[in-house]
Amino acid sequence: MSEYLVQFNNISKFFGKVIALKDVTMKLKKGEIMCLLGDNGAGKSTLIKTLAGVHKPDEGEIIFEDQKIVFDSPRDALDIGIGTVYQDLALVSLMSVTRNFFMGREPQKGLPFFKTFDIEKANTIAAERMGQIGIDVRDPSQAVGTMSGGERQCLAISRAIYFGAKVLVLDEPTSALGVHQASMVLKYIVKAASQGLAVILITHNVHHAYPVGNSFTVLNRGKSMGTFQKKDISREKLLSMMAGGEELDKLEVELKEMDRIENN
């Protein structure tokens, strides 16, 4: 068995003439958090959907636990243990915490044809799971709409883990959150990784990614600019590698220039 839990080798994806992804390679060990960084349009969404089984890669292979895998549907990815938490979280705000937690995979009891949704068991598990992350769900029948953004994110992650995710793919989990909420989510991600999950954290926010990541893959215009271990790269270097970096440098120079002219 190789040291990697999951490997994405030379993944390419084309939409007609558009090259959305070209030769992207990522390898993850158990317990590793890999941050996938890239500016808007870098191909992050396409890559996520490829990992989640929504798109089939046109080139390259996915190797999970030493076996070559082909996904025909998102369900296949879920079944082998790749749990994706999308930006919209797949939570229904009018429904209760419990009903959301078990949405699509409700525990049942009773005789065939008269099977009922085992809501007591579901409530207990949901409350317990949320308790483990430190979110006190006083009443698991309360609507998800009453929860904060960070709590919702944690609920969605916790759900993916409960239903057997070994690889967590998180799409911009902190982008809509304030500092406090974001750090709560990041803490939970680190905790999940320490329990042996491999985490792919997709973000354009280096400041959120750098403290929690073990390795960093930078995506630019559909191509991987390489994967770097944390010890080999600084936060500033990462930032400038993303498309925004050079632009920001240029902007700074221009601003200085304007300043100089005005002062003269």
Binding site: S93, L94, M95, M103, G104, F117, R138, D139, G145
Partner: protein, 375 residues
Amino acid sequence: MSVKSESIKSKKDSGQDERLKKISPLRVLLNRPELGALGGSILVFIFFGIVAGDTGMFSAYGTLNFLDVSANLGIIAIAAAMLMIGGEFDLSIGSMIGFAGICIAIPAIYWGWPLWTSIIFAFAMAVLIGYFNGIMVVKTGLPSFIVTLAMLFILRGATLAITRLITGRTQVPGLRVLIEDDPIAWLFATDTFQWLFTWLGSMKLIALRTDGTPLATGIPPSVIWFIALTLFATWILMKTRYGNWIFASGGDKVGATNVGVPVGRVKISLFIGTAVASTIFACIQVLDAGSADTMRGTLKELEAIAAAVVGGCLLTGGYGSAIGAALGAIIFGTVSMGIFYTDVDTDWFKVFLGAMMLIAVVFNNYIRKKVTETK
């Protein structure tokens, strides 16, 4: 699928249950979608109790009368509510009622089918039409409003054209004689608890006809169907996996699909549900009247949706209840009959219906904001 099954016993006495009890009953009630309809129906009964309390509206006969009207509307309102919770509309309910009526009457009267086979035929047609509505909405992604509006015209037109083609008229009478000894028709045509009413009559507790039989002869079939369907729908919504899928499909289609809910199948089955409920409605009315009319059920789809909305269903889906829709139907049924017992001109009923709906929508909107409010 590898589901980690954590032990759930350990949490039994850790205080979860204790904290649950702290939530006030009022808050629990406020979170229920049917609150508005419950308040509304209590108000309606108090109002008519004062205005028409001594007019015979609340006699056994009068009560059964407005319950019958409420129950008929309730049967379709519950199905409409479930579909609305699932995030879709069905505007073809009324036309389906007319169509189901002739599906029963024409084979039975003109083709000599036994009545029960034509009833089964009508239900089979309902399943087909509901399936068609559902698959059109799911596969094309068009709004159900448009698809079922088209079906409203198609079905009503077909009903009229087919009936005139075969019978030369727009009404098909003569069904009453066929009901007796039919193995299925009694399900839609028998008053139940007749012994109770006979007994009450013999005790002089309820009004009698001049020949000594009670004026109210038994519980009409509509009421039994209404109660059964309310319980069944509530059980499905609250207690089954499928119920959770209905809420999820209406609440967030994309999210539900992403976690593995078969949204398409859920929606199609709900469209079949409204068509089947329309056919139950048609069976009861056609067998009661003994004739099918091509215009039967006109505008019923709007009344059903109105009752569902008053009952707390959100037009955007994902929220509502069957009990709420049932209460909404009781409000409309009670007012539409009760208005005869007051001095108010019956023309005002529609004004009331509209006003009631507006108030309900404003109220529901407020509730939804409350429910989804972030901390």
